[in-house]
């Protein structure tokens, strides 16, 4: 059994009286690609942020790379890449400047910057401020930023939203490559097709509770479909599961 990259047990999170997560369990092992499905408001983003050490859980434990998150989590963050709706790029700086900044912050060699600019095909725009780039180009730069330091764990929050066909293909390609290298991937999405294309395991999060968790194998398809349909329609018939 490969090492657990993520081990979350009973993770709960409350904000101002609203409980976003009710005791969620999830394990992700090295080299696994897991798709986390869920309708809007299920708590996927919150869960991801907790795993990225950006938020502290109100209850439960999170172990990353086999260790509890300690000392503000700096050590864990070095090995995690997060790709979100927001690009985390400074609009006044160029992609090169942005990537160089993040490279320095993560301790990645500056040569990686050029490498990635080539990979995402952004070389032609590398010296213009990010605010002048189109959304698609900006997202490509964000992808470069997430992969810059060769993270062992990639967390992606609805990465295919708003991508055009080319960009989506590029992303899928890069994700597959990362997966092949042994990077663990956890991706939230509500696009089942994409999720199945990239990942080998799936989980469903509904209103803060984990409703389904297992490998994407043909035999399981029916149970998965049932749970998913019920979730999307707002009626959960299954009991919450432990992962």
């Amino acid at each position: 059994m490969a090492d657990a990259v993520i081990e979350a047990r009973g993770v709960a999170r409350r904000f101002a009286g609203i409980t976003a997560l009710h005791g969620v369990d999830l394990s992700v092992h090295a080299g696994e690609a897991v798709a986390l499905f869920g309708p809007n408001g299920a708590g996927k983003t919150t869960f991801l942020r907790i795993l990225a050490t950006l938020l502290r859980p109100s209850a439960g434990t999170v172990r990353l790379f086999g260790q509890a998150v300690a000392d503000g989590g700096a050590a864990a963050r070095r090995r995690i890449g997060l790709l979100s709706h927001q690009s985390f790029l400074y609009p006044d700086l160029t992609p090169t400047q942005n990537l160089e900044f993040y490279a320095r912050m993560f301790g990645a060699p500056l040569a990686r910057v050029r490498e990635l600019l080539v990979q995402v095909d952004l070389l032609g725009w590398a010296h213009r401020p990010v605010r002048t780039l189109s959304r698609g180009l900006e997202q490509r730069c964000a992808l470069a930023r997430a992969l810059l330091h060769e993270p062992d764990l990639l967390l992606l929050d609805e990465p295919f939203t708003g991508l055009d066909v080319d960009a989506a293909a590029m992303l899928t390609g890069m994700l597959r490559a990362a997966h092949a290298r042994g990077t663990a991937i956890l991706m939230t999405t509500h696009d089942i097709g994409r999720g199945f294309a990239v990942c080998s395991r799936a989980a469903i999060l509904v209103r803060g509770r984990m409703m389904w968790n297992g490998p994407i194998a043909e035999a399981q398809r029916d149970a998965f479909d049932e749970t998913w349909t019920a979730a999307v329609r707002g009626r959960e018939r299954a009991r919450p599961v432990r992962g």
């Binding site: 950006l54 503000g72 997060l82 927001q86 985390f88 790029l89 609009p91 006044d92 320095r104 301790g107």
Partner: protein, 219 residues
């Protein structure tokens, strides 16, 4: 940490908005205050240090309130928080950057100040510069902490001065005192206790800020 400072300097270099605001507002304050005093009266010279420091504080509050604006775009604050650095380091880097901006503005405002108030240029300028540096550092130390806090509150423009001005009173008093004494050609030794006060203030609040910053930015 150097990377962080470099990033802030790069951004400022591109837009120059903060520097320009600091300069102009500081200048404006000096001009307006000049109108408060008759050009020939004795009161002018006595009030000069006060005027300088008021200009520093007013312009400084504006500059500080802008200091986390770059992080508001594209959720860059989260991007920063994702980096494998201590939160305290982020604080120190921002403080240094803010200090640098404010001092840069002072380099321009200083001569104009001397100009407007018809002061004699004597050797004590070095002391005045030192007191300015110590004062601005303390101001930046407290200001950066609260700038991070107020950037996410409503009524941001009101909250920052409301918080900052009472807290930096010691810096203000000390600064005015030192500047006044030095301009009256008193020896540096006379103002040593005040400089010590400012230094103490700076050290204390840099440490407090460094320790507490993570609470200011977490959710």
């Amino acid at each position: 940490m150097l990377a962080l400072i470099r990033k802030d300097l790069q951004i400022e270099f591109r837009t120059k908005e903060t520097l320009a605001s600091l300069l102009l507002l500081g200048l404006l304050t000096l001009v307006v205050l000049s109108f408060a005093f008759d050009p020939t009266s004795e009161l002018r010279v006595e009030a000069a240090p006060g005027a300088l420091w008021v200009a520093v504080i007013f312009a400084g509050v504006l500059g500080l309130s802008r200091s986390f604006l770059p992080e508001r775009e594209n959720d860059c604050m989260q991007g920063l928080l994702l980096c494998p650095v201590d939160r305290g380091t982020i604080y120190l880097a921002k403080t240094v950057a803010n200090f640098a901006f404010m001092m840069a503005a002072q380099l321009a405002i200083g001569p104009i100040f001397i100009f407007f108030f018809n002061l004699r240029v004597t050797a004590s300028l070095l002391g005045v510069f030192l007191s300015l540096a110590l004062g601005v550092l303390g101001f930046a130390a407290v200001g950066t902490l609260f700038a991070a806090i107020t950037v996410r509150t409503r009524a941001r423009e009101v909250m920052l001065p409301l918080l900052l001005l009472p807290l930096v009173v010691p810096i203000f008093i000390a600064g005015v005192k030192v500047t006044g004494q030095l301009l009256a050609a008193k020896p540096l030794a006379d103002v040593a206790p005040w400089l010590n006060l400012m230094l103490g203030f700076d050290v204390i609040f840099l440490v407090v800020g460094w320790m507490v910053f993570e609470y200011a930015v977490e959710e």
